[in-house]
């Protein structure tokens, strides 16, 4: 079966003070319909840029390679047609729910946008928005629809952000560190919610995170990225049980565990890398 999203040799360069800087150096990634994939790596590994490149959100990025969604090459698509992809075919959720919401607009207005710009009538959009918010566990959604972001807690805000991302029923949801800014209890709630939503709508999810701890219960497959390229990928269980790449081992070892000896220094990825022979192809230090 052909995957829903197919990323082949994706490259991204950005203009820097001393000429272009290459952030993505050939990313390959497949996501099947209804599949949940986690893209894991340290900050600076290029995982967020991958997400943004798929949606072509960086105006000054120089993109190369191929990104196909259902057979359509997104990188060569005219901007106008690309707009029909954004929001309607691929939804996006960011890390910081406060920064993700426009402070001077009501959450209702923001939730209705993906529908309104596609010609759905206000009344209909409003009804669907309220239904969705209720489904996402926002109590009293009808009354709160015209409130402003600052009137919500962090967890509730992230539900609003998710509502904006999925209201137009995209086939793929890209969630870029959706829980990092939330406290642990809320993190779990939001992840559960995302998973349920994905299953109900058989929506694919690309979860981008640096936190391997949250991946296990969520994703089917894991892709580990470093320095702008994937270094390892596989089923979640396989990766956890038997990480092949030293970097992955490092990432796994650096997840703090409740049964760790508290006096011991937390392990860093570098500790793990130092212990191994450098892998061929591992690139020079991050350029950001």
């Amino acid at each position: 079966m052909k995957p829903l999203l197919e990323v082949r040799d994706l490259r991204a360069g950005f203009p820097g003070p001393d000429g272009p800087v290459e952030i993505l150096r050939g990313v390959n990634l497949d996501i099947a319909a209804g599949e949940k994939v986690a893209l894991v790596g340290e900050s600076g590994s290029g995982k967020s840029v991958t997400a943004r490149a798929v949606l072509r959100l960086d105006r000054d990025a120089d993109l190369g390679g191929r990104v196909t969604l259902d057979g359509t090459d997104l990188l060569t698509l005219p901007e106008r047609a690309m707009r029909d992809i954004r929001g309607a075919r691929i939804g996006l959720v960011f890390q910081d729910p406060l920064a993700s919401l426009n402070p001077v607009m009501t959450i209702g207005w923001q939730i209705m946008q993906p529908l309104v710009i596609r010609g759905v009538r206000k009344k209909e959009a409003r009804r669907r928005g309220i239904d969705l918010l209720e489904r996402l566990g926002v109590r009293d959604a009808g009354r709160r629809f015209d409130d402003y972001p600052h009137q919500f807690s962090g967890g509730m805000r992230q539900r609003v952000v998710i509502a904006i991302a999925v209201i137009a029923e995209p086939a793929l949801l890209i969630a870029d560190e959706p829980t990092t800014a939330l406290d642990v209890r809320v993190q779990a709630q939001v992840l559960t919610l995302l998973r349920e939503l994905a299953d109900e709508r058989s929506m694919s999810v690309l979860l981008i995170t640096h936190d391997l701890g949250i991946v296990a219960g969520f994703a089917d497959r894991v892709v580990v990225m470093r320095h702008g390229a994937p270094v390892e990928e596989g089923q979640v269980d396989a990766i956890y049980a038997e990480p092949k790449h030293p970097y992955t081992r490092g990432l796994l070892a650096s997840v703090p565990r409740i049964d760790d000896d508290p006096s011991r220094r937390l392990t860093t990825v570098d500790d793990a890398l130092d212990a191994d022979v450098p892998v061929a192809g591992a690139l020079e230090g991050g350029s950001r």
Partner: protein
Amino acid sequence: MTRFLLRRLITSVVVLFGLGVVTFLMSQVLPGDPARAAAGRNATAEQVAAVSARLGLDQPIWEQFPRYLGNLLQGDLGTSVFTQRPVLDDIAEALPSSIELVLAAMLINVVIAVPLGVYAAYRRGRATDVAARLIVLFGAGVPVFWLGLMLQLVFADRLGMLPLTGQLGFGREVPELTGMTSLDALLSGDMAAFGDAVAHLLLPAVTLAAAFIAVVARTVRSSMISVLDSDYITLARATGASERRVVIRHGLRNALVPVSTILGMQLGWMLGSTVLVESVFGRRGIGAYAVNAVLQNDLYAVIGSVLVIGVVFVLANIVVDLVQLWLNPRLRQPARARPAAVTAGEPLEKGAMEGAAL
């Protein structure tokens, strides 16, 4: 929200009180005997003394001051020596014309500066950065009265496109309804007079607006740039909204919050600049009235003008506060719940860009 408004109102009251003190001190120093002024030119010494006693002018200042404030509160600004009419009546007659001019200038200012600033933000880069800096620094260095004369020279005298001075063409008249000539013409349905009034309004309004446009455009630009860099704008793009919609519907309102503060202050400075512009264009208004009053040594008229302009300035600031409440919902919540970082209510350095006003 109430606390925000309350704090601003208290500040306004303090400023107004201070204005009363300053103008009172002026009245003590200014040349010209107010008692003689009130009694009339041909009054005898006894009559002047009688008036002086009636007005309490022979009493020590600590007794005069409360009386002075009391009179101000009742709208009694004294009588003009020159027109022999209550100063308040004179000003009430002159002010609408100035407000017409200032509002027209503000309209031009906003209509040009906001789109310009938005565009410059969208096309940011070193070139627009340099251009914005130069235009602002140039704009702040042009004497407004001279600019008015130059525009007259080019557009009225050489090109003959627009009238040189005045508010209406020769022989034209509109009924006095609001005191704003163009509005009066419109209300009375006289479209020809309306066109004529607008033509007369155009050059002075452009003159008044010129110095401010660059500053507003630059403010819009820098605040728009930081808005466009924010996550919610990226997410707006990710919903599939067009660039136009992203910038205007999602971004503009945020970008305008700091701009509204500047515009409010500019409203006050524009009113101050009418002193220079109205005399160049031979328009009636509070600026021209104030200048005449000074040249005529017309004590109460000078003080009255200063006072009224000050009050309008304070009122403009209150309007700005209300506009900010509308633009920025975060100010509407109770103060204690507001994140410390939100200080949109704080005025920028007051008196800022004073030079641009001249």
